[in-house]
């Protein structure tokens, strides 16, 4: 009897009640935001609020039940944080679709489509948790994942299938369904590949080499993988005109290399390679050069009026400026003036209405989500999970940095989605799968060690 009590003391807590409470809190905030938008814009609580709110609530309850059944030890914060970010995105898209705008792109904002994709995303989340009982199964698929990732990455370049929209050739049209962005799924497959590959090759990458000044230089022949990834990501940049995916892919690889080897020389080599490659691409290719010009002189009137110029970026900056510290209030600003405010520029649109205070809260939520992922990585018991959890968390953080840095003109603007907020099915789906993988690994990391059926015997029962 006392042994049972003792065991319950030393086990990490499941925190199910905390998780459910936080989840209910997140759904309540989203419903409050819907009401706020309706009150401000129409003077009444919107008729769709109950449908959206209860719909989101029911979806999250379903996700929670799946999580409680199939990953009971999972981190209690991951799901509530994602719920709130996703919900705020839904509210912003709803709000943008309500306001009259003369921009041609404004008609594309569709809250019902996004809610439908959220549903599919949670379905994928649940299916991943149900069918992937042990994430280490992915380690056996290392090279398969690498091949799948590469094929997905280059698939938009195939004739007939690939489509070019808004100047970037990153779409694949599927007859009858619509278009998907295969790069969103490719990045997941590639992180799995990087993790499996680095577990196998980590020692040689970390140990061989010689020391020069303050950094350990790797051997020339060990540079192979880094050069190949560099080549592929530059290829994406040049062939598909997709600066964002290119930066995302290469940055994630360099970060995982650093996690695996703990050698800063890899990071330095990676940054030098990418900056060099980007400058070269900037000199050779027009579309990259134009991005740099916009980045350096966003206020230039000629660039502002040019097609694909700085108008969008400046409208975003104006929006955040008019929001100020406390924002204009939900439904009371004019974020509809920003082109594509519902997808790439949802961050400045939110900034106008919630102000710096709201944006900081939003960034804190992303930071907490990443922190939970990195914590999972630290607590994981096998090297593959450590690298995979670290890589996926970094992918999320890096994605937020690239798009938020882009819209605030800290770095050149690249077309990446804000995870869970921007309208877009592919991104939402792949990010929900990413969260399912993190949940699966945090479940494994926080689960108490396997219980023995007898104290002195060697026979043990392992829970899978």
């Amino acid at each position: 009897m006392s042994e049972v009590a003792e065991a319950s003391v030393t086990m990490p807590a499941k925190r199910r009640v905390a998780q459910l409470a936080m989840l209910a809190f997140a759904v309540a905030i989203v419903m409050g935001a819907y009401a706020n938008v309706g009150l401000a814009m129409g003077g009444a609580i919107p008729s769709g609020m109950l449908t959206y709110g209860l719909g989101l609530g029911a979806l999250m309850l379903a996700a929670y039940l799946v999580l409680a059944r199939f990953a009971p030890w999972a981190d209690p914060l991951i799901l509530p944080l994602v719920t709130l970010i996703n919900g705020l995105g839904l509210v912003m898209i709803f709000r943008l679709s309500e306001s009259p705008s003369t921009l041609p792109s404004a008609k594309l904002a569709s809250p019902s489509t996004q809610l439908m994709w959220t549903f599919v995303g949670i379905l994928m989340f649940s299916l991943t948790l149900i069918f992937l009982r042990d994430h280490r199964a992915l380690q056996r698929l290392t090279y398969t994942a690498g091949a799948v990732g590469l094929i997905l990455l280059i698939s938009p370049l195939t004739p007939f299938l690939g489509q070019e929209i808004n100047g970037a050739r990153i779409w694949v049209g599927i007859p009858g369904v619509g278009q998907i962005q295969p790069a969103e799924f490719a990045k997941l497959a590639l992180v799995v590949f990087f993790a499996g590959y680095l577990v196998a090759k980590r020692d040689v990458l970390a140990l061989a080499g010689r020391r020069l000044l303050f950094i350990d230089l790797p051997r020339a022949r060990d540079l192979g993988p880094v050069l190949i990834t560099w080549g592929v990501s530059l290829g994406v940049l040049v062939m598909q005109k997709d600066l964002g995916s290119s930066l995302l892919l290469f940055g994630t690889f360099v970060a995982m290399l650093y996690i695996a080897t703990q050698r800063s020389s890899w990071v330095i080599i990676g940054i030098l390679l990418f900056v060099g490659g980007a400058i070269m691409a900037g000199m050779l290719f027009n579309h990259v050069q134009q991005r740099f010009n916009v980045y350096l002189n966003p206020g230039d009137p000629v660039l502002f009026d040019a097609v694909g110029g700085s108008a969008q970026l400046m409208q975003g900056l104006f929006a955040m400026g008019s929001g100020g510290i406390l924002g204009t209030g939900l439904g009371q600003g004019h974020p509809e003036l920003i082109p594509l405010a519902f997808s790439d520029f949802i961050f400045p649109a939110t900034g106008e209405e919630l102000g710096l205070t709201g944006l900081m809260a939003l960034l804190m939520m992303y930071a907490l989500l990443v922190e939970r992922g990195l914590r999972t990585s630290v607590a994981a018991r096998d090297p593959f999970s450590k690298l995979l959890a670290g890589g996926l968390s970094f992918l999320l953080a890096w994605q937020v940095f690239i798009i938020v840095g882009g819209v605030t003109n800290l770095i050149p603007l690249t077309g990446l989605v804000t995870p869970f907020m921007s309208q877009g099915g592919s991104a939402l789906l792949s990010n929900w799968i990413l969260i399912a993988l993190l949940v699966r690994m945090s479940d494994a990391a926080r689960k108490p060690p396997p219980q023995a059926i007898q104290n002195e015997g060697m026979t043990q029962v392992f829970q899978r």
């Binding site: 030393t10 009150l39 209030g329």
Partner: protein
């Protein structure tokens, strides 16, 4: 809707948003300050019951296994009454991927309030401080145990 109501709603919404962030940090504070084994809700009155239920928990008894060296550095495992196996096999409690470790390398188990390390016939041996473990040996607190490239330690 009057301006004032909307202003109040706006401020309240931002406050609620931050309250969510603070509540989230509250949920993980056990993670930030101290070990994850801290009781989940001290307010629920569970604590006194637990204090009664562990009469044998003496001072100086290890409660955590910490990896202090090797690729898994920083990993902690909470010690229960369960033996802990270390090795390359995927069913080990602590899975090390290390060419110098055997698939079932070593085992740690509790006996009379002490933790004992036992080598499971590994190729390269298990070391307690500098000496090779040839038969089950008690592990004192804070003394490094080396398995391949991995170094572990028991801590309170």
């Amino acid at each position: 809707m009057s301006e004032l109501t909307l202003l109040l709603i706006r401020l309240a919404f931002l406050a609620v948003l931050w309250f969510f962030v603070i509540a989230a940090v509250g949920v993980i504070r056990t993670d930030l300050f101290g070990s994850r084994t801290a009781p989940a809700g001290p307010r629920k009155g569970v604590k006194p019951a637990k204090a009664v239920a562990k009469p044998k928990s003496k001072k100086g008894e290890p409660r955590q296994l910490v990896v202090t060296g090797g690729p898994l550095q920083g990993t902690t495992i909470n010690l229960t009454e369960t033996p802990i196996t270390i090795g390359r096999a995927s069913d080990a409690t602590l899975v090390v991927s290390d060419d110098y470790a055997s698939s079932r390398h070593a085992r740690l188990f509790p006996q009379d309030g002490q933790w004992i390390v036992e080598d499971l016939g590994s190729t390269n041996g298990t070391y307690l401080e500098r000496s090779k473990v040839t038969r089950p040996t008690p592990v004192p607190l804070g003394v490094p145990v080396r398995v391949g490239k991995t170094v572990i330690e028991l801590r309170k």
